[in-house]
């Protein structure tokens, strides 16, 4: 049996509370990240990812307390990301009990933070989050992909998908791997929120360019989308948020479905 494909629920946390619509009959307070983490862990999630979307720096202490509380109730790995820009901030998260820290804008602005983190904590703690978007303005020197008669390259965006960088996502992925990233959390901006399925072309492009594990994210609206991304690419893990927010798509049911369709999962 090879390594299983990992199914990873993602929780957006703001000021210590989970935001976005959650619809659980079994949990009275669906905004409590600790209760949700426990539920997902009990349901068979392979890992969890928390993205802290708290705006102000002063509120950042909250995330440390939260990380510790979550670590107390689960016994699976978890990653914390969102707004991590300094070594100190990343350190705080890891020493509070997280297993990995995800960095996006912070890595683009200051790539050497990845090497510093790797040297301190090891490669396996360093996740680089890449938010990529198709750019149809094809330039020389970019990795060009096509779908139908459209040609495009994948551009890295920062600040929560708001600002373009001019960086080619494929080249950026290779660079972060060299600098010390142990894993890539890859989000398609085009697909995010569409519930239309993962960006297969993007996922394949990155997975085939780097020797480290990649997590596909953005666009998952049903279990078939997970099946598709695992069948059509060599991606290691699939992240989803909204589908797990309803009891009908509990993690164990999604994994059962994948297993029935010959995807190796832990059940």
């Amino acid at each position: 049996m090879p390594l299983t494909k990992r199914i990873i629920p993602c929780l957006d946390v703001k000021n210590g509370r989970v935001v976005k619509g959650l619809h659980f009959m079994s949990i009275k307070d669906a905004g409590d990240p600790v209760l949700l983490a426990k539920k997902y862990s009990d349901d068979g999630a392979d890992e969890l990812i928390f993205l802290d979307i708290t705006a102000s720096e002063e509120q950042r202490e909250i995330i440390k307390t939260l990380v510790t509380k979550v670590a107390q109730v689960i016994d699976i790995p978890f990653t914390v990301g969102g707004g991590v820009k300094t070594l100190q901030h990343a350190r705080d998260i890891l020493l509070s009990g997280a297993d990995k820290v995800a960095i996006n804008t912070g890595a683009v602005k200051n790539p050497k933070i990845l090497t510093e983190l790797m040297e301190l904590f090891g490669k396996q703690c360093v996740v680089v989050a890449i938010d990529a978007k198709r750019n149809y303005n094809t330039e020389k020197g970019k990795n060009i992909f096509s779908e139908g008669d459209q040609k495009f390259w994948f551009e890295v965006f920062i600040y929560g998908g708001k600002k373009e960088t001019g960086l080619d996502a494929i080249e950026w992925a290779k660079k972060v791997e060299n600098l010390g990233a142990g894993e890539i959390l890859l989000t398609s901006i085009d697909k995010d929120g569409t519930k239309d399925g993962y960006d297969i072309i993007l996922t394949k492009g990155i997975v085939n360019s780097v020797p480290i594990p990649v997590i596909a994210s953005g666009g998952c609206g049903k279990e078939d989308h997970m099946l598709q991304v695992f069948k059509e690419t060599d991606v290691d893990a699939a992240l989803a948020a909204s589908i797990f927010h309803y009891e009908t798509h509990a993690v164990d049911k999604v994994k059962q479905y994948l297993k029935e369709n010959s995807i190796p999962v832990r059940l």
Partner: protein
């Protein structure tokens, strides 16, 4: 209550290991050197950090040598890097290992994705105290870039398949090692932690 100590090399998350031990009713101290008389029933070498700095933190700040500290009676559980340190040397660094098991630690071949990260199952080869009550093919969580190459096959109690055979559980007298992270391996991992604590009680 059984009292154990986690050796902290100063690098990263030992929180979940402490938590897992406490959930299994142990009292846990965090120590950074071996210099007081050993009144612990068990010692844990956790799985975060880098080979050379971790070896140095054990060797350089302690008045008592590791092997004299635990002798052949205090159970020691080495997790991931902690298990790798049991061997004589590692391709991750230049320092000599603890040398309680013969063999070396090598980097995973580049033919597979490195790190080996995620849930894989273990093939139980021989009886082991750590594996009591664990079914063959149970899922455990791995995250590592190096693997042990023990000189003596009999120390390997369970293996995992990642294109090549990975020694997943090793055991020799009072030394127990897991390449995976029991503290991150759900209920299965908790059973193993509990098995180790039972050894500590003896």
């Amino acid at each position: 209550m059984v009292k154990v100590a986690i050796f902290d090399y100063g690098a990263g998350n030992i929180f979940s290991l402490k938590n897992s031990l406490e959930k299994n009713n142990a009292t846990v101290d965090i120590i950074t050197s071996f210099d007081k008389a050993n009144n612990y029933s068990g010692i844990l070498l956790p799985g975060v950090g880098n080979f050379d700095p971790a070896i140095r933190s054990i060797r350089d700040y302690s008045k008592i040598d590791f092997q004299d500290y635990v002798q052949d009676k205090i159970p020691v559980l080495g997790i991931c890097l902690g298990m790798e340190m049991f061997f004589e040397k590692s391709e991750e660094g230049n320092e000599k290992g603890l040398g309680v098991m013969e063999g070396e630690v090598i980097i995973l071949p580049k033919t597979m994705k490195v790190p080996h990260m995620g849930w894989n199952n273990i093939k139980i080869k021989k009886q082991s105290k750590i594996l009591e009550g664990i079914k063959d093919s149970s899922w455990v969580y791995f995250v590592h870039s190096f693997i042990a190459r023990p000189k003596k096959e009999e120390v390997v109690k369970a293996e995992s398949d990642y294109g090549i055979n990975i020694p997943a559980v090793v055991e020799k007298v009072n030394f127990f090692g897991t390449q995976f992270h029991p503290e991150k391996s759900g209920k299965i991992g908790s059973v193993m932690i509990n098995n180790f604590l039972s050894e500590c009680k003896k």
